[in-house]
Structures are given as structure tokens and as C-alpha cells.
Symmetry: C2
Subunit: 189 residues, 2 copies
DNA sequence: GGGCAAAAAGGACATTTATCACGAAAATGA
DNA sequence: TCATTTTCGTGATAAATGTCCTTTTTGCCC
């Protein structure tokens, strides 16, 4: 069974089996294939996806067709277009699969219902979002204060596995440099 | 009276006078002078500050003494070192005043107590943090996908008033460029 | 297994940005 | 008010990064 979700929640609040069953009843499981697009720009975003396995990315594609990667998500991570999901507006980001992936997703409606009916879960989501906020602040600091090389080495030490799973061009896109520049940094020129 | 805080909360949840009085009882008011340092690197961070007036910044100062600005906060904004505050660890950021400022601050203890005792407020903080998360994602996208000039123009249209209130060198630090580069961008070279 | 498309590497050159240096203008504080 | 910082702009040069291109390698699909 997929108690990865339960483990993540229980790192923040403890749950009885009954409580977890109730939580889980608000989720739906769904599998996706590599290259499948989960969220398309311009469409409404109904779900927030929790990854049980696989790998996805969220990205913005600018008018010239260049893609900029905002986030990679692997096992135990959440991914969606948060702006569109939480504000019920149309997506400006795209989310797609870099590998076959298994997910549990929750609609906004179910998330809010769950938070209303079970304060523990409202607490969980508050803490989880706070941790996310902190992580994004650190990424911003890295982007404004570090050189491309430092950002590259930083990512390499933080997520060494990522480099075996995704093409370098996507790593470059995440770091905010071109793939040529990344190639030079990686080869120490 | 300072009902700026109440207004911000009521944009998300409605409160009776009694409820607001209860909320407010968890805050302490404090004024600061320009140049005063509110949070020092290496010290524990007890408070999250809500600005009633004035202007502050949070920044990281690297070993070479270079400052990188993570956030400006003006009226109606919150500021702290979130990582140190929420995790009860020592500050890695500095928060200081760019103008004389009036604040309402809340300790982590009071914040958690308030959330426990009043689910409305847990809802408020969850929504507020979510909105903050979304804003940071957009800033990250801007940093990895836009040129320095675009980032400058973006900030200029979003916060035109800021340019009259803070030195350009700090704007540059926020945008992740040197003050010389910013000066040239602003004068269209 | 073979063919094809994607990915990676690298060269040559253009552009952007950082660095260092200096002087003028503006703001600040005694 | 006056002296002292701070701020701002600008030039010259170096370093970093982007752009465009070709070649090689890899890996995937039928």
C-alpha cells in the first residue's frame, strides 16, 4: 500500500488508522506515462498531485517557446500550478511527466473540506506550505547571490540523483542558464 | 487605531469585535528607528513582524560582506527570518529598518496558540502563506527567465513607489545585479 | 538490431554583466 | 550652515554567459 502519504503527514501530525482512512478518502489515485502532460497552460487546474513514484516538472513556456523549469517533483513531493489551483484561475504553468508516475491527487474542494473537518490536516497543510515558503526563499537567495557555477554545485550536492534521471538541458533550465553554459560549468571551463 | 491588521485578516475571514480583540491580544506593538536592526544573524528569532507603517528589508550578508536583499516589507506586510522563526533556529538573515517603522509582532508560541484556539486564524495563516508561496514562485520564474532589464521594469511597474523610498543600490541587490548595472539599465544603455 | 531522434559537447563570436576607479550631486547629521 | 557621508552615474576593462553552429554520442522505438 501507498503509505508514503501517511508517512509524510505523520512527520507533522499523528493519525489513527481511521483518521488516515478518512484523509485518504479525499484523494484519488492516478497513473501517468512519461511525456504525458498533466496540467496544460490555459486550462483550469483542479488537482494538486502527490507523487508516489516517478518524476514530474512544472515549467513556464514563454511566447518564444523557451521553457523555464520552476520545480522538479519526485516521490513524496507535491506538484501543481499553485496560482491556478488555489485561485481557481487558468494555468500559466505546465506540468508534465519525465518518467512514468503514480500519484494521489486532491481537488481544491476536497482539500478545503478536509481542512474544515479535521483541524489536524489544516495544521499539516499550514506547516507544509510554510516549509515550502522557506525553501523558495532559499532558492531566491541562491539565484540572486550565487554564480551559475555555485548554483550548479549546490543542486548537485542537494539532489545528486537528479542528474542521472533528467537531461542536462532541463537542469540548465531549472538553474536559469543555457545548456551550453551548464555544459561548460560541468566540465570546469 | 491600527485596524490595518484587522483589514488584512478580514480580507480572508470575517471577525467579530470580540474575536479581533482576542487575536490582537496575541500581538505586541513596537516601534523602530531607521537603521535599527530587528533581527541579527546568529541570534534566535522570536517574532514575526507585521508593519503598520515604515519600511524594512530582510537580507543575507555573505562572508565577503555583500548584502543580498530577499524582501522589502512596507505597510501591511509581514517580515521575519522565516526559517529561523518557524524552526526555532538561529537567524541566517538580517532584518533592519529603512525608515522609522511601527509594528505589531507575534511570537511563534502565540501564533501557534492562536491557531489552535481559533481555527479561523489557522485558516487565515494557511491562506496567507499559500499566497506568499505563489508570489515567491513567480519571483523565481522572473529570476530564471527574465533579463536584468525586464526584472527592473517589472519591479518598477509593480512597486513604483519603492524607487523614491530606497537607494538604487538596494533595488539592485534585490534584483540580483550590481548597482552599476542597474544604473545603466535605468538610463537605457 | 537498425534507424532515428534526442542529447551532449565544443568552437567561434556577440552580448551582457561585473569589477574597479573616479567625480558630481544629494542627503544627512552635528 | 557646513562638513561628511552616501548615493548616483559613467568610463574602461575583464569575466561570464548567450547564441548559433557542427559533430559525436546516446538511447529509444519499431
Amino acid at each position: 500500500m501507498s503509505n508514503i502519504l501517511r508517512q509524510q503527514i505523520e512527520r507533522i501530525v499523528s493519525l489513527t488508522d481511521e483518521e488516515y482512512a478518512f484523509v485518504l478518502s479525499h484523494f484519488t489515485s492516478k497513473k501517468f506515462k512519461k511525456h504525458q502532460i498533466i496540467i496544460r497552460e490555459g486550462e483550469y487546474v483542479h488537482n494538486d498531485y502527490f507523487l508516489l513514484s516517478g518524476l514530474m516538472k512544472s515549467s513556464h513556456i514563454n511566447p518564444e517557446g523557451r521553457e523555464h523549469i520552476i520545480q522538479f517533483a519526485m516521490q513524496d513531493w507535491w506538484i501543481t500550478d499553485p496560482q491556478a489551483y488555489h485561485n481557481e484561475t487558468k494555468a500559466t504553468l505546465q506540468v508534465d511527466c519525465l518518467e512514468d508516475s503514480e500519484t494521489l491527487f486532491i481537488t481544491l474542494e476536497n482539500r478545503e473540506k478536509l481542512c474544515r473537518e479535521m483541524q489536524k490536516m489544516e495544521y499539516f497543510f499550514r506547516k507544509k506550505t510554510t516549509a515550502g515558503y522557506i525553501a523558495l526563499q532559499r532558492r531566491i537567495l541562491c539565484l540572486i547571490s550565487s554564480t551559475a557555477k555555485e548554483r550548479y554545485e549546490n543542486l548537485l550536492t542537494q539532489y545528486p540523483g537528479l542528474f542521472q534521471r533528467v537531461p542536462k538541458s532541463l537542469i540548465a533550465s531549472y538553474l536559469g542558464v543555457t545548456r551550453e553554459t551548464l555544459s561548460r560549468l560541468a566540465n570546469n571551463n
